[in-house]
């Protein structure tokens, strides 16, 4: 390598670093703006809904001077921009106020409800993506064949049958009749009070405590609702995989790969799917985010004390702090997972690095 080439190489490297810093900076700016928007929207909703937060606390028979005092305590007499500023500061400190319904800090409630939802959503997504991607690939490869029709019908059922009905039927068959799985709730009552919550995740907590019987029990409670959510996301993920794969299988590089004498297996999984994974990552991440939001129907049918159930209950009881707190958590999940899929996208597609 000549000296000229070396310096050119060095310039290239520092240019790459600069571009990297630029990308990170842009990422941070986007997150900041999105978050600001999220806070503005939740703040705005909190002000325009026809629920007076003061009345919600003191009741509608309190004397005028009490109402006035509480209003001042809550800072509602201050100018709007200052209220927004205070609101943002509190949210960033993890202070969403107190829930009227449970009289706990909202953050504490969410911290209890969220792990239940995470457990459900994560297992559901693992099942949905783990099965949905291969099924979609299979359908695309056997396009128009029996396999394709089979996957199509499976997906159609997943889309169109109401999940609460499937949940009830699942409970009836696998819990009530066959006794293969645990019933509603996260764990049998017998174990529930002997367990000290460490992480809030049943599977982790029982494993940490070394209570393998309880672990098995928690798993048997989790498996049915998680399978239902998994089936639901499988329906979506397999359809998307199929269409991305069909697009890739029509590309010239697939013909080139065949001309090289590669096996079909390698062409499908190493070449076509590797390209299809680029947009698929976003699909899977957003489907995961959708499940993390909490699936109210599933959580209701299975008496699962998750985020969806918490937000819905709070909404029905006009518990605004809880609703807004929940909304911010859900919004943060979407921002976080979007960011994650953006990063994965960059890792999977070399073309995004130099652009």
């Amino acid at each position: 390598m000549t000296i000229a080439e070396q310096t050119r190489g060095g310039g290239r490297r520092s240019a790459r670093l600069l571009r990297g810093a630029d990308t990170v900076g842009r990422f941070l700016l986007v997150i900041f703006l999105t978050y600001l928007g999220l806070l503005a929207v939740t703040f705005f909703i909190g002000r325009v809904i026809p629920i007076d937060p003061v009345l919600a606390v003191v009741g509608d028979r309190a004397p005028e001077h009490v109402i006035q005092r509480v209003r001042e305590e809550m800072g509602l007499n201050k100018p709007l921009w200052e209220q927004f500023f205070i609101y943002c500061r509190k949210v960033l400190q993890g202070d969403f106020g107190t829930s009227v319904l449970t009289s706990n800090p909202v953050m504490q409630d969410i911290r209890r409800a969220f792990p239940a939802t995470i457990e459900l959503a994560t297992l559901g997504t693992i099942m949905g993506a783990g099965l949905g991607v291969p099924l979609g690939v299979w359908a695309a490869v056997r396009r128009g064949g029996v396999a394709d029709q089979l996957v199509r019908v499976m997906g159609l059922i997943g889309y169109s049958v109401p999940i609460f009905w499937l949940g009830l039927m699942g409970l009836l068959v696998f819990y009530a009749r066959l006794g293969w799985v645990g019933g509603p709730g996260r764990i049998d009552v017998a174990y529930e009070y002997s367990l000290t919550p460490v992480t809030g995740f049943m599977l982790l907590d029982t494993a940490i405590a070394g209570e393998w019987e309880a672990f098995g029990n928690a798993f048997s409670h989790l498996i049915l609702p998680a399978s239902l959510l998994g089936y639901f996301s499988l329906a979506y993920i397999s359809r998307m995989t199929r269409s991305f794969m069909l697009n890739e299988l029509n590309q010239e590089y697939v013909i080139a790969a065949r001309a090289k004498g590669l096996t079909e297996t390698r062409i499908i999984w190493r070449h076509a799917l590797r390209n299809a994974m680029v947009p698929l990552v976003t699909v899977i991440a957003l489907s995961y985010a959708g499940l993390l939001e909490g699936s109210v129907l599933t959580e209701t049918v299975f008496a699962w004390p998750g985020l969806g159930l918490y937000i819905t209950n709070s909404l029905q009881n006009a518990d605004m702090n809880a609703v807004l707190g929940g909304t911010i958590v859900v919004g943060s999940i979407f921002i976080g997972l979007n960011l994650l899929s953006d990063i994965l996208y960059r890792l999977l597609d070399p073309r995004t690095k130099t652009r």
């Binding site: 590309q251 010239e252 590089y253 013909i255 080139a256 790969a257 065949r258 001309a259 090289k260 004498g261 590669l262 096996t263 390698r266 070449h271 590797r274 390209n275 680029v278 999977l348 597609d349 070399p350 073309r351 130099t354």
Partner: protein, 283 residues
């Protein structure tokens, strides 16, 4: 070099390729093409839709699954290409018959490094260690006149120019030492100056390795300077077979029309000649 050395490495007799059409019938894209090929350069010329690419793909068994390929005979080195198993065909592809496609922008996998794509061909046909595979890939890159193969090895297809990409494509197809190369418009997507460079590289490799070449192109002049023999295709049929030097002796009116349309330096023709396409030629 082992393998077939005399004429008739490839025998194609009455090759027909048909695809289902909208009326529910089959439309023939290739309608009875026959030729024999030794270790020589055969050019196939024709306009878009004349069936020249489909002929090349049928030889490799790369016709789209809905297409139907029939022939009296289609043999490579005594191996029946029509009735060989999927495994046999796979061993031939890339190993003994390779194909260079038109545009490296689309024919290279965008998410795989160039080196990996070259090594992959060798892996499919030979038992080699990683180290050995890499060395041979670098050597092949050098043979297609890439000066710094170590750097190019790790690059992705979008990071190289069209000419460089096509050279990588040739390296990818030649690394397993095939006997026959089918080049389907290998230079059409490139700049004119790069075209000539690439042809020179291809020319040398084919000569050095003593390979057979089927050069598919719509460019009559290019083919006539590059090949020993030319098949002129029109509407799925071979209308004329010429030796490269005998362009002026062409008999068929379609070929004559093509030759007549070639521009010559310093000449002023008004109006410019146009191609005549008579329906009876397609019969």
């Amino acid at each position: 070099m082992n393998g077939p050395s005399v004429a008739d490495m490839l025998v194609v007799d009455d090759l027909r390729v048909a695809f289902p059409n909208r009326e529910g019938g089959m439309t023939e894209a290739v309608r009875g093409v026959s030729f024999r090929l030794g270790r020589e350069r055969l050019g196939i010329v024709g306009e878009s839709g004349s069936g020249k690419s489909q002929t090349g793909r049928a030889i490799l068994g790369l016709t789209a699954p809905e297409g139907r390929v029939t022939a009296n005979r289609m043999e490579f080195d005594g191996i029946d290409l029509l009735h060989s198993s999927a495994r046999q065909r796979r061993a031939l592809r890339g190993g003994r018959i390779a194909m260079v496609l038109q545009d490296p922008k689309f024919s290279l996998n965008p998410v795989m490094s160039i080196g990996d794509q070259i090594v992959e061909t060798l892996d499919a046909h030979a038992r080699v260690s990683r180290r050995e595979a890499r060395d041979r890939a670098l050597e092949t890159l050098r043979q297609v006149q890439i000066d710094n193969p170590e750097r190019v090895f790790d690059l992705y297809p979008h990071e190289v120019s069209g000419g460089m990409g096509q050279r990588a494509m040739i390296a990818m197809m030649l690394i397993a030492d095939p006997d026959l190369l089918i080049a389907d418009e290998p230079t059409s997507a490139l700049d004119v100056t790069v075209q000539l460079q690439l042809l020179a590289i291809l020319d040398r490799l084919v000569t050095d390795r003593g390979m057979g070449l089927v050069f598919i192109s719509h460019d009559l002049r290019l083919v006539s300077t590059f090949c020993d023999r030319i098949l002129v295709m029109y509407a799925g049929k071979v209308v004329e077979e010429l030796s490269a030097g005998g362009l002026q002796d062409a008999q068929h009116p379609y070929t004559r029309g093509l030759v007549n349309c070639l521009p010559r330096l310093g000449e002023h023709r008004h109006p410019l000649p146009t191609l005549d396409r008579r329906p009876e030629w397609a019969l």
